[in-house]
């Protein structure tokens, strides 16, 4: 049903022969609210290092590009904007950056992409945290930037008020203004984080015994960021990380977040429910990318899917029904929920790739079941079709994603000065 449209944009754009990139999104026992009740789940271990070590190691066994780790500054909730007071779902989670750091020395190839809430945290702290994650993982760090429009999370910080609203009010002018403001602030946040990563040139440390100078301070730069919401002087206290710029990513469902992806990210995660939607979304993001003046920069667009995988499609669907039964209500997600075989999912991924997606972030419905089904079922299937790697071909996350190590913006300035 789809035709291959040549892309006017440089890689990574759609190309039938381009390598497919694959990530998994990790959250608790899995994305289905009843996942923790499955026999393969380890619900009492979700806050232990061992659990995270095991699941990230499994993802690495499948040669996946990276894992993302979900996070929030309040309890999980089934409600769009408010706490739900439920006791039948997983509640409580650890800081995602620290989980990523904890597993970094125990893995070698896989990228580590924790979620970071821009709305209530300090870009200075976050910039050095991700730079440090890049050091402890020797070049495998990224981040997923997220905004929080939750009133209860704002109350945990007490520094700003966010009005109450429901999902049905998303298109009202007041809520649009609120959301636009939060995403603009997140764009400023990413800009500060990126400038801080560049605030040290790569060769700033000189250890010149003759002059007694440890650094060449002309290669350290004040970032002097002045924005609507905050200003930051710099430079970072942490030297430029191994990747130069760790990988920035964001989830996006509509125009406002598409603009954040287009302006600020290396990867955008999107949630089409069919190939035509995928094509429309990719077109929208590429246009926003051009509007932001970044049309020459590589920008991955990954499709997000919740997946339940079994060797028999009927078994996968039956499992979904059983989980829905346990939860008491059919599972609805922003992303398409795929219940079927690894071969069926491979068909779908390759079809959507033709719509312009460059990779996929799969959300295992039950990590204990569906993560191994991805690494041991889907991955070999994609490999048989020549669409996925046989071995890790690069040492850094940027390398795996086909992204070059960026030049330092300040080094360029001083070279022409």
């Amino acid at each position: 049903m789809s035709s291959d449209i040549p892309s006017p944009y440089p890689l990574p754009a759609s190309s039938p022969n381009a390598p497919l990139h694959l990530a998994v999104a990790l959250d608790g026992a899995g994305w289905h609210p009843a996942a923790w009740r499955e026999p393969t789940a380890r619900p009492r271990e979700l806050l232990t290092a061992r659990y995270w070590q095991d699941v990230v190691t499994e993802a690495e066994r499948g040669l996946l590009d990276f894992v993302t780790i979900e996070d929030s500054l309040g309890p999980q909730s089934s409600h769009f904007t408010e706490p739900d007071g439920r006791t039948d779902q997983v509640r409580g989670r650890l800081d995602a950056v620290l989980i990523a750091a904890r597993v970094a020395p125990l893995t070698r190839h896989i990228g580590l992409v924790p979620t970071v809430v821009a709305t209530h945290t300090e870009p200075f702290h976050l910039s050095k945290a991700i730079a440090t994650l890049d050091y402890v993982s020797t070049g495998r760090a990224g981040l997923r930037v997220q905004v929080s429009a939750r009133r209860n999370e704002a109350a945990h910080f007490g520094r700003r008020a966010i009005p109450p609203f429901g999902i049905e009010e998303l298109d009202t002018p007041a809520v649009r203004e609120l959301v636009t403001g939060l995403f603009d602030e997140a764009a400023d946040y990413v800009e500060v984080v990126r400038r801080l990563w560049d605030s040290w040139e790569d060769d700033a440390e000189i250890r010149d015994v003759a002059t007694g100078r440890f650094i060449d301070r002309d290669k350290l730069h004040y970032i002097d960021f002045e924005g609507r919401h905050f200003s930051v002087k710099g430079p970072s206290i942490t030297p430029r990380p191994p990747q130069g710029q760790p990988v920035v990513s964001a989830l996006a469902h509509s125009d406002v977040p598409f603009r954040l992806v287009a302006r600020s990210a290396d990867i955008g995660y999107v949630t089409p429910h069919d190939g035509d939607q995928a094509r429309a979304i990719v077109t929208g993001i590429r246009a926003a990318q051009e509007a932001a003046g970044r049309e020459r920069e590589p920008l991955h667009v990954f499709g997000d899917l919740v997946v339940l995988l079994d060797d028999d499609a009927g078994a996968a669907r039956a499992r979904l029904e059983r989980l829905d039964g346990l939860a008491g209500t059919p599972y609805i997600s922003d992303a398409k929920v795929f219940a079927g075989t690894p071969a069926g999912l491979a068909d779908l991924l390759l079809e959507w790739r033709r719509a312009g997606l460059t990779g996929f972030r799969l959300r295992p419905a039950v990590i204990g079941h569906d993560l191994p089904a991805i690494t041991r079922g889907l991955v070999p299937e994609l490999r048989r079709r020549g669409a996925f790697r046989d071995a890790y071909e690069a040492r850094t996350l940027r390398g795996l994603l086909g992204l070059a190590r960026p030049a330092n913006r300040y080094a360029a300035t001083s070279a022409t000065a």
Partner: protein, 458 residues
């Protein structure tokens, strides 16, 4: 029967941004690569140390309006590197300095609770209270805290973080598959804090960690700092590593505990200490002189004088006499972001005393800075150093030491291999870890036990 020997607590401070790290030493490695931290942590754990310690600084230091370039510059993020170290160690405590001015309690409490979970109960927090506008330029809250508010914010910050950490009892997660009950109580983590600095409420989203709360350290020597530590800290980092000063400080701070209903064992006094080891005492003394000359280059000596003079002294010869001009007594503008600046409260008197000293001994600027600077705390053969440390602790001048080697990352190796076995032979230092948490190593009660005791007493 003789009294059992008081047990020594030992910790290791990764030498980062300071003027004691000799980065020019051929043995000096990276101060930023994870391999350096892993080596250092494993050495300290091999030696059965209580914990390792990372300091913090949130703005690069400046001198004369430019970034200071003579010492090690650059360090990793504290939480992130400690979490990674939890993966390559099993027992050693993981202590980090986290500022209470440029953070928010909800986030810091989450990070410490997370670190405590991910390390199996080995986290500790050194609460510092920097307040200055210079550092504030890197943060959203922008600007600064009036100096007189810094301890008030720190105390409320710590109390608030404690309320958040205590908002989970520890038995809320039942995860009963059959009934579908994950949480026993939907209100787990609920908190309300309304105070001068923080007005927050909601639900903390990290369930109770193995230690309940991180171990709390405090560094700071002012009257307020001592009271803060006596009231709220589990351990205090002190500057006093000479015997008589150490005893005076120890008596003073431990003497403040009863008014907070605490006993002497509930607050450990741990001075930072440097060391130089040699095969013999004479060899160590010679080595120590060399290290001091490496630590104080001519350029470093001039910069050090500028802390006091508050003037640009770059035209002076470090091998020549002290400047004959007087310090600028106005607001200190030359050096920013360094603790030393605040130590010279009376620059005119200091300058006069230094000139007299230099004249009497025929010292150059560099000689003066070397001779008046901090001496290494422990210099000698392993036997001498072991005996001295033991005497300090048995004589109540300290409960132990936080050792700061002058070389990264191998500067602890010789201490671990030579001094530690001698302390163990003396029966003053553990041969192996008894417990698994940092509270176990430090002999501190679990906070839940404290709370139970309080309830029983009331």
């Amino acid at each position: 029967m003789s009294k059992p020997r008081k047990q020594i607590h030992l910790a290791a401070h990764f030498p980062g941004v300071n003027n004691t790290t000799v980065w020019s030493d051929p043995q000096a490695g990276s101060h930023i690569e994870f391999g350096s931290f892993a080596h250092f942590a494993r050495t300290a754990e091999r030696a059965k140390f209580d914990f390792l310690f990372l300091a913090e600084g949130l703005r690069l230091r400046e001198q004369g309006g430019r970034i200071y370039d003579l010492d090690v510059v650059g360090r990793p993020d504290t939480f992130t590197v400690l979490a990674a170290l939890a993966a390559v160690t099993e027992r050693i405590g993981l202590t980090g300095t986290i500022n209470s001015t440029f953070n928010e309690p909800y986030e810091v409490a989450r990070q410490f609770a997370s670190l405590d979970h991910l390390s199996g109960g080995r986290s500790a927090w050194n609460v510092v209270t920097s307040w200055d506008a210079f550092t504030g330029e890197n943060f959203r809250r922008d600007g600064f805290l009036p100096q007189e508010e810094r301890y008030s914010r720190a105390r409320e910050f710590l109390a608030t973080a404690g309320e958040l950490l205590d908002s989970w009892q520890g038995d809320e997660i039942v995860a009963d598959r059959a009934t579908g009950t994950f949480l026993r109580d939907a209100r787990a983590g609920s908190f309300v804090h309304k105070g001068h600095h923080f007005d927050i409420h909601g639900q903390f989203n990290v369930p109770r960690s193995p230690q309940g709360r991180p171990v709390i350290f405090q560094a700071g020597d002012s009257e307020e700092g001592r009271e803060f530590a006596a009231a709220d800290a589990d351990a205090i980092f002190s500057r006093y590593s000479t015997f008589e000063e150490g005893r005076a400080f120890y008596r003073d701070v431990k003497g403040r505990l009863p008014k907070y209903g605490r006993s002497p064992g509930q607050l450990l006094i741990l001075p930072a200490a440097t060391f130089v080891l040699g095969d013999t005492d004479a060899e160590a003394a010679e080595l120590a002189r060399e290290v001091r000359r490496q630590q104080v280059s001519g350029a470093t000596a001039i910069k050090h004088l500028e802390f006091v003079w508050n003037r640009d002294l770059s035209a002076y010869d470090p091998d020549g006499p002290l400047p004959d001009i007087d310090p600028d007594p106005g607001e200190h503008t030359v050096a920013r972001g360094r603790a030393q600046v605040r130590m010279y409260r009376d620059p005119l008197t200091t300058a006069r005393e230094w000139r007299e000293l230099a004249a009497a001994h025929k010292w150059s600027i560099r000689d003066l800075v070397i001779e008046t600077g901090n001496r290494q705390s422990f210099v000698g053969s392993p036997a001498t150093v072991a005996a001295t440390i033991d005497d300090f602790v048995q004589g109540d001048a300290a409960d132990g030491f936080i050792l700061v080697p002058h070389v990264t990352p191998g500067g602890l190796d010789a201490f671990a291999d030579t001094v530690v076995p001698l302390l163990q032979e003396r029966g003053a230092f553990r041969a192996d870890y008894d417990g698994t948490t940092l509270r176990d190593h430090l002999g501190l009660a679990h906070p839940d036990a404290d709370a139970a005791a309080e309830r029983a007493a009331s």
